[in-house]
């Protein structure tokens, strides 16, 4: 269980890198793409935290988070397209 710290650090680095694109990105869709990737990475982070704290209830949190993030990204994309 020691190696899990390394994986959490890798995920933290990945989240920071995509955060750079959120702040820097020249267009709105660039930021949306970065947020989409960040939500996917955060779902993996929640699943890893469930293993870290040995609580199975955190997996349900990850599932609900994935569903809500999908709905949010779809809504933003429809809004960008002008159809909402």
């Amino acid at each position: 269980m020691i190696g899990i710290n390394v994986y959490l650090a890798l995920i933290a680095i990945a989240t920071l890198l995509s955060m750079y694109r959120v702040f820097r990105g020249p267009t709105t869709v660039d930021r949306l793409v970065a947020v989409d990737i960040m939500t996917t990475i955060t779902t993996g982070l929640m699943v890893l935290f469930a293993l870290y704290y040995k609580r199975m209830i955190f997996l349900d949190v990850a599932l609900v988070y994935a569903v809500l993030a999908f709905g949010g990204v779809i809504a933003f994309a429809r809004y960008m397209e002008g159809g909402l």
């Binding site: 190696g3 995920i11 680095i13 890198l17 869709v29 699943v47 997996l59 994935a66």
Partner: protein, 131 residues
């Protein structure tokens, strides 16, 4: 640590490495289409690795049960189904809101598709006028 935990840990390592690669592609690539191309694919693969790996790892640990593997596989299948949909919708919104392609891009199939559709409709309209 038994075999299941070892296999799960290797899968989690591969998954987090692909997460890192997707974030790297988000920074390195020149325009929004290339960024979406690299980051979505590798993030989906990384999610599969992390979810299934955590399920196997918990199954091999002393506190784990089969419910861990079931729930993680449910999350993995959901992400596998919805990630391409959100990527496709976002990138179509980007194209329709007029973001230009990178100057190094050599082919634009969607523009050709739209062009052929308009040409067909024009031909149909001309035939209708002739009649």
């Amino acid at each position: 640590m038994n075999v299941l935990a070892a296999v799960g840990e290797i899968l989690v390592l591969i998954g987090t490495f692909f997460y890192f690669l997707s974030a790297l592609g988000l920074i390195r690539m020149p325009d929004v289409y290339n960024r979406m191309q690299t980051s979505t694919k590798s993030a989906t693969l990384g999610s599969l690795g992390v979810m299934v790996g955590v399920g196997l790892w918990a199954l091999g640990s002393d506190f784990g049960s089969v419910a861990w593997l079931t729930k993680t596989i449910v999350i993995a299948v959901f992400l596998l189904l919805t990630n391409p949909i959100s990527a496709h919708t976002l990138i179509r919104a980007a194209y329709k809101s007029g973001i230009p392609l990178w100057e190094g891009s050599v082919v634009d199939k969607y523009a050709e598709h739209l062009m052929s559709k308009t040409e067909k409709s024009e031909i149909v309209e001309e035939e209708g006028d002739a009649e």
